[in-house]
């Protein structure tokens, strides 16, 4: 009997150990996923912040540019740099065949003409002289230089030819390849060429969308919350509103995209692909989040404050507007920021209202077509070129950076300014 008991007890303790182990493993797994995830994004993305340049000697030969003597500023503007640029590349290997010349040309981005032109416009006295100019390397060479491109693939399976690699290796040996901080990633709009693609257009698109979302959602949500928490009579209708809000908070985001498409675009004829429509759609999504946060912090204001103001002869409206609402603001604001952070990461509804269109200009207002950061991630992730993989990760890093800042900000507001009622 006692033996049995001993056995039972041991097995109970083993069960306890096992259960704890499951719990620990669950936490461990969840954190492991997070780590792998962040590691993966960072390890593929950090290279995108560097950009590879080929330093090529350019001889600014007036003849190749069809320039007369003593050209004016306008002449320089209008000059033809294409031949000069081509010649520059061909000079890398004077004995190149026609096909190889083509390969040479494709070692740099199609911006090379402009990069040479800028150099000359900066210093017109260069005419007739030779100078080393930085040219953006093509995305494939960029990847080769960063070591992301397997060189040992058979030639017909990679986009860089053996010939290009040979020339490139020569340039590397001569110290004519350099890697520098990739400023253009932040200042250029999207492009079909990975080496020239930047996040400026989608970044502005995101900013405009979020601003529109804030301008619409915040006032409406706060007013609605004030009504529901302070003024609404307790009846079936307000119950219905409440149920509505809670459910709306859990409706899949893509449904809001359909709403934007079916109502904002189709009925109200608002302009497609614009942050205006994106922002309105997102604001409808964010509305319940802010309402819920605002109501919670209104609820947290103790009734004694309201009673004190009412007892002083303030009207209900004055009590609310002068005392309750200001006291609830920290909670509301941090809820709003969290709602906006959610909206900032939203993709599906924006795709439906056409913000996936290819935009290679930087939008100047909410009425210009634009993408947004998450949509940019989607667009780049869908493109086949290897150069875009690191761009996607880098774009994710930028997006995550913003989300972290917003969430920290929300935390700070909550902890610094929220009054603790005891």
């Amino acid at each position: 009997m006692n033996k049995n008991k001993e056995k039972l007890l041991n097995s109970r303790y083993r069960a306890e150990k096992r259960f704890q182990f499951y719990g620990k493993s669950a936490i461990f797994l969840a954190l492991l996923f997070l780590t792998i995830f962040i590691f993966k994004i960072f390890s593929t993305g950090y290279t995108a912040f560097q950009k590879t340049w080929l330093i090529v000697p350019v001889t600014f030969d007036a003849e190749t540019m069809y320039l007369d003597e003593n050209p004016s500023k306008e002449d320089l503007e209008d000059a033809d740099y294409f031949d000069l640029a081509l010649q520059t590349m061909f000079n890398l290997d004077k004995s190149a065949s026609e096909k190889q010349q083509n390969d040479l040309k494709r070692m740099v981005s199609y911006f090379f003409e402009r990069e040479i032109k800028r150099e000359l416009l900066n210093d017109p006295s260069l005419i007739g002289k030779t100078k080393d100019v930085y040219l953006t390397a093509s995305d494939d060479l960029d990847q080769v230089f960063k070591g992301n491109y397997p060189r040992d693939l058979p030639e017909d399976q990679r986009r860089v030819t053996d010939y290009q690699l040979k020339i490139f290796d020569q340039l590397v040996e001569q110290g004519r390849v350099e890697s520098k901080f990739n400023l253009s990633f932040f200042t250029y709009p999207d492009s079909r060429e990975a080496e020239l693609a930047g996040i400026a257009s989608s970044f502005m698109g995101s900013i405009f969308s979020i601003l529109v979302c804030l301008v619409i959602a915040f006032p409406v949500a706060v007013l609605a919350a004030i009504y529901l928490e302070e003024f609404a009579p307790k009846n079936r209708f307000t119950d219905f509103i409440e149920v509505n809000i809670n459910n709306l908070a859990a409706v899949p985001s893509i449904v809001f995209g359909l709403l934007g498409l079916g109502i904002l675009l189709a009925v109200f004829q608002l302009p497609r692909s614009t942050p205006l429509v994106g922002g309105i759609t997102l604001s409808l999504m964010t509305l319940p989040t802010i309402i819920i946060a605002c109501r919670a912090s209104l609820k947290a204001v103790p009734p004694s404050i309201r009673e004190a103001a009412l007892a002083m002869g303030a009207s209900k409206m004055q009590t609310t507007m002068h005392h309750t609402v200001p006291l609830s603001m920290p909670g509301t604001l941090s809820g709003t920021i969290i709602g906006l952070a959610q909206a900032l990461g939203e993709t599906a509804p924006l795709i439906l209202i056409g913000m996936v269109a290819f935009v290679n200009t930087i939008p100047g207002s909410p009425l210009d077509p634009a993408a947004s950061l998450p949509v940019q991630i989607y667009i780049w992730a869908e493109s086949a070129e290897r150069g875009f993989v690191e761009k996607v990760s880098a774009c994710i890093m930028v997006l995550l950076g913003f989300l972290i800042i917003m969430n920290l900000f929300a935390q700070i507001i909550r902890h610094k300014f929220e009054k603790k009622w005891s």
Partner: protein, 461 residues
């Protein structure tokens, strides 16, 4: 121009606030008792000044374009144009009047453009005149009211109350908006595709339904065997199932561990870290699933001699599960912590171990709440879009093999609607019908789950 009017009204509102208050002071100076604080006189006048003007302004903005369009297009009636063509003519007229038209300019178009410009300027002028008249009239009225020292606080507060109430309708309006945006397209869709075929059909090839020339009559037989939604319902269910297989054990166990075992220190760090998983945008998960998990599973599969699609349901569902872990873990953590301590004490005092207490007392007591949180997780899984779009196939295969690729409701909506949409085409309408299905399914899940959770909360409050 519109902006100018807008700013004008706003400025006038501020000015009238100032005048209203001044009036109140002057009344006060005659030793008359005011009926409210001087500000309220200001608010009162400002409301009278701005609100009627704004109402007219917005009504005008809503109706002007369609009225102008009607007038312009009345010239073209009885000429046998189709609706689409009339729309085109109108668009051309507009761009011509803006001087941005690059096409063949006919005399017809020119007269229309001229007429358009004419109409617009008439409209603009009469709008300005009307708004000015309204503002003057209402300011005069309001000023008279406050001059005779009428009550001002009550009307102002009533007005504010009305504003608050209107704002609270936003949520209902959004819901109505969702229903409206879905329902008409859905009904049109089912006019062409029988409901039965949609629900029980097993072939889903929306690509087959090429965008039809609008002038051709619609031939329903063209779409037989195109919009059978069984494969995507099954795919949605299947991927959600895989996701829950990952999320429920991990989420639930970590919720339990955090609530019952973890020291305050571990809890303080582990909980927010796990919640980061919920804050990561889904497109990022999608990228992760497509770039890392999919190929990884494929490699493992190949090494084991299995045929694994790079876009397997397993990759999409698994990553989706990771995304849902924090929802389940924090909700069940909350639910478990709200089980009263007295039940735990009762069980420990009987000589139960911690895990026995959890499994036999706390878990059953918290079950409704946990079920609610799991259902909310399911609703997320069903409505999740980007992970599936990026990591799972876009072709709707009817399969329950996790190593093959399959598609979901949300992914199909995106596939259909990405790029140009032609309203009135069954393919576009199909997306809305899917959206309706999705909305109904998630709505019922949410309502049910929220009710369960609420009941549970009430029990222990």
């Amino acid at each position: 121009m519109n902006l100018v009017i807008f700013i004008f009204i706003v400025l006038l509102g501020f000015t009238s606030y100032y005048f209203g208050r001044k009036k109140a002071y002057s009344i006060q100076a005659t030793n008359t008792r005011l009926t409210a604080l001087p500000q309220f006189y200001g608010y009162y006048l400002a409301i009278w000044c701005a609100i009627p003007a704004f109402i007219i302004y917005s009504l005008w903005a809503i109706f002007e374009p369609s009225i102008v369009k009607l007038i312009i297009l009345s010239d073209y009636s009885n000429q046998g144009y189709l609706d689409d063509e009339l729309n085109l003519i109108y668009e051309k007229t507009k761009s011509l009047s803006r001087g941005q038209f690059s096409g063949e300019i006919t005399t017809y178009l020119e007269t229309s453009a001229e007429k358009y410009l004419n109409l617009r300027s008439i409209a603009q002028n009469s709008k300005v005149v009307l708004i000015l008249a309204i503002i003057i009239a209402s300011i005069v009225y309001g000023y008279k009211r406050i001059s005779s020292n009428n009550r001002t606080r009550e009307p102002v507060e009533k007005f504010l109350n009305a504003v608050l109430f209107t704002a609270s309708l936003a949520a209902i309006l959004t819901t109505i908006g969702i229903v409206f945006s879905l329902i008409f397209q859905t009904i049109d869709f089912f006019k062409v595709i029988p409901l039965f075929d949609f629900i029980f059909g097993t072939h889903w090839y929306p690509a087959k339904a090429f965008v039809r020339d609008a002038s051709e009559p619609l031939d329903p037989s063209m779409y037989s065997d195109t919009f059978g939604a069984v494969p995507i319902f099954a795919g949605t269910f299947f991927i959600a199932l895989i996701a829950m297989c990952v999320a429920i054990p991990i989420g639930l166990m970590s919720g339990i561990y955090l609530a019952e075992y973890a020291s305050t220190k571990v809890r303080q760090y582990a909980k927010p870290l796990i919640e980061i998983l919920a804050g990561i945008p889904t497109v990022v998960y999608g990228f992760f699933a497509a770039l890392t998990v999919g190929p990884f599973l494929k490699d493992i599969g190949t090494a084991m001699g299995l045929e694994v699609s790079a876009e397997s349901a397993l990759a999409a569902g698994g990553v989706m599960g990771i995304m849902i872990i924090p929802f389940i873990s924090s909700l069940s953590d909350d639910v478990i912590t709200s089980v009263p301590q007295s039940l735990r004490d009762g069980s420990y005092a009987m000589g139960a171990t911690k895990s026995e207490t959890i499994k036999k007392v706390i878990f059953p007591a918290a079950l409704p709440g946990i079920v609610g949180s799991i259902l909310l997780g399911v609703s997320r899984a069903v409505g999740e879009t980007m992970i599936v779009v990026m990591a799972s196939g876009l072709a709707a295969n009817l399969t329950f093999n996790p190593l093959e690729s399959t598609s979901t409701i949300t992914a199909q909506i995106v596939v259909i609607l990405i790029g140009d949409q032609a309203f009135g085409d069954p393919k576009t309408q199909a997306a809305f019908a899917l959206g309706m299905t999705l909305f109904l399914v998630t709505l019922s899940l949410n309502i049910f789950a929220l009710r369960v959770v609420k009941k549970y909360r009430e029990k222990y409050e």
